[in-house]
């Protein structure tokens, strides 16, 4: 469990109990880590806890980019854990970038486009609250909003590059269909492939068993294998 003997890549202590131990100190600093799991594997909880722990334990502010649930739902759903997202928002310690699907008629597409506005909004949120941590939840949902996966893929790559330039330590969640299948849908691991964490929620002996496995951290060490964890309210 010692945090040294690593290569050149520093770790960012997340403050998530247990995680920093199996990660030999924390997440690769200034990098993006993919957190992939099946439905119900606690990806969103992990993403929110990553920012919440930064705020409450280290005074590090965070930006949360949501492609799926609305900020209202996330704030409400996470109150049970004792995470006061609304309060942190009002104190400029937490910023939402709301890219969740809107209840409106489908946009019409004519000609070429990119996701430049999304990137500008993320950069703006990071600047506004001086964020050190960014969580993006979840990549599959943004693919559902646009018809051309190749555009989404290249724009997510551009966002990952921009976050790196800003020195942000980020996590992006993505969904997989099988606890022991391919890493994620839509081939997102092709561009956020340096660091991969898998969350599993498998059925064993008629019981749900949650585990976390760090599949890889490029250029730095981590514990190997699956580690059990629980989701418990604060």
């Amino acid at each position: 469990m010692n945090g040294n003997a690593d290569g050149g890549i520093e770790k960012l202590e997340t403050g998530i109990p247990g995680f920093d131990s199996i990660a030999n100190g924390g997440l690769p600093k200034g990098r993006t880590t993919l957190v992939s799991g099946t439905a119900g594997s606690a990806k969103t909880v992990f993403a929110v806890q990553y920012l919440a722990a930064g705020i409450t334990r280290f005074g590090e502010n965070g930006a949360f980019v949501t492609f799926e649930e609305s900020p209202e739902d996330i704030s409400r759903n996470m109150m049970g854990f004792g995470w006061e997202i609304r309060k942190w928002e009002s104190e400029d310690r937490w910023a939402f970038v709301d890219a969740s699907p809107q209840p409106r008629e489908e946009d019409l597409v004519s000609g070429s486009y990119d996701l430049g506005a999304l990137l500008a909004r993320i950069e703006y949120a990071v600047r506004r609250v001086d964020a050190r941590r960014v969580a993006v939840d979840s990549l599959g949902a943004i693919f559902m909003q646009f018809a051309e996966p190749s555009i989404v893929r290249s724009e997510l790559f551009r966002i990952g590059t921009a976050l790196k330039h800003m020195g942000i330590t980020a996590i992006m969640t993505s969904e997989r269909t099988d606890d022991y299948g391919e890493i994620s849908r839509f081939g997102v691991e092709e561009f956020v492939s340096d660091n991969v964490i898998l969350l599993r929620n498998s059925l064993e002996m008629e019981k749900r068993r949650r585990t976390m496995e760090i599949l890889k951290f490029r250029g730095t060490s981590h514990q190997k294998g699956e580690f059990p964890f629980t989701v418990a309210s604060g």
């Binding site: 409106r104 019409l108 000609g111 486009y113 430049g116 506005a117 999304l118 990137l119 500008a120």
Partner: protein
């Protein structure tokens, strides 16, 4: 008569942005005479407006008035698709009120 109110979101003054603006001006002038007002928002300069209106893609054109609100994504290179998307027919009578430009 209701004026058409359009807002075009772009990212920086790139060749693509300029082409989109030119396409929009051409469509508006050709089909709408003076019965429109157009606002251009560069999301690099005013990201808070992109956040407020939940814009993801650029270019995005929003028709705010008259209702219903319509959103069009892309560089507006196909005039007929744009007019359809904005619920507009190319009205010949538009030219009656003003096409002096």
């Amino acid at each position: 008569m209701n004026k058409l109110r359009l807002t075009l979101y772009i990212t920086g003054h790139t060749p693509k942005s300029e082409r989109t603006i030119a396409n929009l001006r051409r469509i508006c002038k050709g089909e709408l005479g003076e019965k429109y007002e157009m606002v251009i928002v560069d999301v690099l300069e005013q990201p808070q407006l992109a956040e407020e209106h939940k814009i993801l893609a650029t270019p995005t054109l929003i028709k705010e008035l008259p209702p219903p609100l319509r959103r069009l994504i892309g560089d507006l290179s196909h005039t007929e698709q744009i007019l359809l998307g904005l619920d507009l027919q190319p009205f010949p009578e538009c030219n009656d009120t003003g096409d002096r430009q």
